[in-house]
Symmetry: C5
Subunit: 368 residues, 5 copies
């Protein structure tokens, strides 16, 4: 096993290379079955909203017990949990009747987006995507969404990032459409927020692709090659996280759960449309990246071709001079022209005239 | 972030390269969810037609209120709106009962072609394609088509382009087939016009491909490479806009809306046939472009091969002369032939005979 | 726009290259929607057969009116029309009740093979394929086949080619199976003839591929490259014309038209089998052509590799001679061996021994 | 058209190349519709078995009339016909009620594997595959299998090869499972034998692939390239013959023919499993061959890279010597060091020291 | 045929190359139909567990007869057999009513994962995967799982490896969930253990890929090429073993066997989710390996490009010196500057100034 120090040293001298290979490790290390390895979060934040069209009650950073003690009572309850701890998940699960299988899914790491409908609970796991500006890579955060009778519970990995902030602000407005609707509309809004964020991430990657394409055209070097390679990996991450969401939403639409009002089906169809478009876009990225790879190789070949031509030209220019110089440099007693007054200049002249004549021939044959 | 000036300067010196990368940006920047960013159009033009087999009333560039006040009264009403403004869409929506979800679709940017059937309204969004002669690229304009009871409403992005002009002229003729039929026939004619235009755009791209192929065969240079790359991107644009239309038309045919007369199904099937053919053609384009890419690379390799052969020939011609020149140029006291009268000519003769003999060997072995 | 003269001149000097790009134009220029552009045929030939098991009446090159005046009267009528004129199609359509939509399909250019079943008429359009020996390309001719009650009408583009000739001769024999059967059996025989002809065309292309492969192995030059490229295009033409026929025949089998006797379904299934086999073969062609492309590139690389090795060998042979020649050519007062009687020969000897020794090393390391 | 002599001559000098292209011809020359071209077999062998659990009667190389005169009478009759003659097929067809369409299929050449169920006859055509050790290619032999009431008839192309020999020997054993079962079990056993033979052929090809891979790694030359190309073609042959068998067996399982006992369905499912596995394996071969192609190209590139490096090293070594030799070889009156006693050795020393210093720089920069 | 000795010798000198090709042989040598070739295991270990929620009885390494004599009697019996012997399989089969067809599947080698449901026995064969640390390859072991009424029997190939050890330990705990459930839950747990192990194997391959990618970036040599090739083969092994498992589990879920309780369906769905994720991951591996291949080729090209540039630079530096040296080395009587005091230095100066000037030009044109 390599020591950390060694890796660190290489990172200083060759940060680019390491970046790529580290990322490979992260992408390939997927094991959804080792549940126990998730360490309990250091910090967990509970937020609860209890609302109907007329009133809204906000409980920010309250203890879990307080959030759980809220009774829906005709109102809609949304509990958001940032940070995962087994004990908390179990308490929430007991309160709302979430099956142990689903609890495992909430706690598992590296889940494939999936949807489940067990015991009057509509459950789905999807991954929120963020663009990591520093590493130029796509980060993911697992989000579990639970829809119960008059309540929605959301579990997020990372308490430091606030995905639903914008949504919360809108919820507080009395005119908000969400306020006037059932819990399933809130559920739709949450999913919609997540899917819409995919486009923001892809937009950032689009910027990267554009910059990279400019770089390839101007200067196809090793750094560019490494970046193309890195982009391919991010495209794999996108694909892995976005493609299964189509099935997730499709299953929600097809599910005949009582938790979903018929009327709201059209909203989920709208999300579905966006997911399909996102998948199209991922395909476009793939085509673009393949195109860039080809462009890169072609450009490198073209550059090499030019260098080869320079060498060929120089070699051709050199040849007659070498021969003539060699000819008149031979130590024979009798050398023609050697005693001639203009002999030197005649020889030098031929050294220049012959290559020019050769070049003109080559040019006419289209070699240069 | 790069300044505009810097980009502009590069544009002057290297317009081709920039063209390609700018286009990448445009293609990848798809975000159907950010509705609010569409600025209201500067200029909006409303045109209304009220017709049946016997009479037709044309209202050109009237105020919206006048267009909306027209009562169908057994006749068929077609309102065409060039330029999108939220207020207008809402007024039209209120008058004809268009659902808010559909209104959002009309106003959204970068929509994937889709079809919806809500509240007795048959709705679809498709993209009209134009060939931009200057940029040699495919422009797109979003067109929303609404079919209601005895009325058709069309929304177009861009008031400066007139897609349906030809259709309007035909409509004014008393013998026009459209005049004798229901609103769904007009709806079909509009879709047909749009799909047929795809072929015109592809025809233009076909010309580009032909010219490019000639260029590749004659002179495979960097400009050609950039153009192949550009064509690939346009092919992506075509694919993105045309493929989903198959589903759109298919859904119209399958929809059991009362707005569609059974008899007219065959017309939509005809459009469907054309869309399938357009998709086939896009596939053919892809194959052609891949073929050109391969041809380009092969041709560059062949050219390099030729240059290498020239170098090899020259090197071989040079070698014996260099050796012989070196041999007789050495400063030894005793050099054979050095005192011989024909010594110089013997050496020079060998300089020519040996390479000719070498070439004949190489030729026989098929190297040149 | 390039002038015709310029194109013509290039054609003389470089016929091969032009061939390829012209063909690209033809393949990509598909527009099924511009119906009006088909010029009326210069010459139209009508042939009619009226037969049952006992008798057959042949009307060769009769006026259309005569052909249309024939009454089936229990017998089966086959009218074949070579050459398309709008007026004729309309007269035939009126007589046999062919829907205007189908008439448009008959007259349209560049149709995708399709099948339709309207108003007791079973209609299909397929393309007959011919191998153009001169251009080494696949020509296509649109054939429309109409099956009505006791009658079959066939429309062909080109009066100069006679696809069904062989079939006619067989029809005249009293023992012909077709004579003993219903009109749908004739319909099957016509389709079968067309599909069987696909294999003849592919056989010819197979010959081309074999010759080309030999050429690639022996001499991978620019001409070969152009031919591979040309073959790829013909493969696209094959694919475009043959693939949709599977659907056409499939739809005929699935259609529950009264015109088809249950018993004859098995014959159409037989045609279907052949179409599937033809599609398999087109796939094989694609694989073969891809294989040839790879072979070509590998072969060019191998050749280049060989040339490189020759250069490397010559360079290595040259190096010691150049150095030694340079060393003893220097004008120092004191040069070792310069006064030695065998000095010259020692130097020359080293010029030969050192490269031989170098070559033996390289050989042992497997470089040559 | 090329003369046979010319082809023969090339075969002597370059057998490998021709082998490949000849094979191309064979593979591409598929025409299932030209029935009449099959020449009657020179020799036809009829074998008949009449058995039940208690007794078995074997008729080896009997005349056809004798085989046909056997009455099943509760027993099961298996007639095997090696060699195809139209007259024989017709006589067998008349005796067992085989439809003319099926007779045509039996006699046709180059059939795609297919299954048919007409008039109480369960019919299928599959291709037996053999590995031709001399040509290193896959041979195929068409086998038609007819299942009737209490009888199985098998038609084979080639009387010299005995596919079912092993099966016959097992049949003669009283304990044979086949003896205790219905005719459909024999039918299954025959199909099973054929499918199992596919694996034997693929095993042989697997050996070829292994040997070839070793060759590529050790010595990537033109012969290897030709062999990869040849293998690709054999893979096409495999694919063409094995893929459709899945459908054939699938259709047998789905067919509700009375000839098949419910109990035996599971045996056909077992064959189906093997066919699916064979298809998997063909896919694996394709991947392997693609991998080898890539490996080959990479290896050739690597070799070329090495040669280039040798040239670069030699060129660098040569450069200073050439320059220094040139410098001190100039004929000036005043040349520094020329009169110095060690001048010659100083110059020669520099000729060696400078390239060593250059190499050390290059090495440190990782170029070699 | 090559002798073993020869192969052995090559193994010593070039272990890497042989490794790859040997593995090819192993992968391609799949023949599921040759049942009789499996040699009876040397050592067979029988373990039996008889448990219900209250008690558990463990029989470790007992004789088969003892294991078979256990009566389930309301309890659940799990017999695990490590090592396959025909006699044992038959005895077990007779005891539990396992059909002979299934017995053949248990004994066959190189089975494709499959599921069967015959005579109240739910049967499936899957392959356990192990990562062979020494060979860096994926080993497989065939595991047959039989679910009968209140009993589960598992057959494993290899008695030295203990897949279910961890599971056994958990089973012994009174709190184990398995103890409280039916036999189908045990069946699920066994399948789950196998599928979960796939991720562990892939994790190991992920490490290999990461290391390899680092190696490619740093030093793309022949060893790296061989390793990429080896990885591709392991990816084929993964694909072959994992893909069919989706169908296996899917068929279990769809099967309406009485052996499966409705409640436990959700557990099998959970396994299904993991299999789908494993398949996704295999796809990701394929993409990664393709990416590495491209990266490798690009990197080799880049290196070659650099070497070419060095050569071009040196050639250019060399050219003027060679020409000037040749010019002034000619033996003419009248040579300009030859008598000049600074003549030598002027010439040498030009030898240095001209190449510097040339380099500056090239640099400005972006060649270096």
């Amino acid at each position: 096993m390599k020591s950390q120090t060694e890796k660190y040293l290489r990172y200083i001298f060759n940060p680019l290379e390491l970046f790529g290979t580290e990322r490979t490790r992260e992408i390939l290390s997927v094991n959804p079955t080792v549940i126990t390895e998730r360490a309990d979060a250091q910090k967990v934040v509970f937020t609860a909203y209890l609302y109907n069209q007329n009133s809204i009650e906000e409980k920010k950073e309250v203890p879990l017990s307080e959030a759980l003690s809220l009774s829906t009572n005709g109102k809609i309850l949304w509990i958001n949990i940032d940070g995962l701890r087994k004990a908390d998940v179990d308490r929430v699960g007991d309160r709302f009747g979430i099956s142990p299988l689903l609890r495992e899914d909430i706690l598992a790491i590296g889940q494939r987006p999936k949807m489940d409908d067990i015991d009057d609970i509509l459950f789905c796991v999807v991954n929120m995507l963020y663009f990591n500006e520093q590493k130029k890579s796509v980060d993911q955060e697992q989000i579990s969404l639970v829809l119960g009778k008059n309540c929605v519970i959301t579990f997020q990995d990372d308490p430091t990032r606030d995905v639903f902030d914008n949504l919360r602000n809108r919820l507080k407005l009395p005119t908000s459409k969400t306020r006037a609707k059932e819990a399933d509309y809130l559920y739709y809004t949450l999913l919609d927020t997540i899917v819409d964020h995919y486009f923001i991430v892809m937009d950032k990657l689009g910027d990267l692709i554009e910059d990279l394409e400019e770089e390839i055209v101007r200067n196809p070097n090793k750094r560019v090659l490494a970046q193309i390679n890195a982009l391919r990996k991010e495209q794999i991450v996108l694909k892995r996280n976005i493609y299964p969401v189509r099935e997730v939403i499709g299953n929600i639409i097809k599910s005949e759960s009582d938790l979903l009002t018929d009327f709201n089906e059209r909203y989920f169809k709208d999300v579905q449309d966006h997911v399909v478009q996102a998948i199209d876009l991922v395909e476009n990225y793939r085509d673009m990246i393949t195109g860039m790879q080809d462009l890169y190789i072609s450009n490198v070949n073209l550059k090499m071709n030019e260098v080869m031509k320079v060498m060929a030209i120089v070699t051709c220019l050199l040849a007659p001079a070498t021969v003539i110089g060699g000819v008149f440099g031979m130590n024979f007693d009798v050398i023609p022209l050697s005693g001639h007054h203009w002999g030197f200049w005649i020889a030098v002249g031929m050294m220049f005239i012959i290559p020019i004549w050769m070049l003109s021939i080559f040019k006419r044959r289209g070699w240069f």
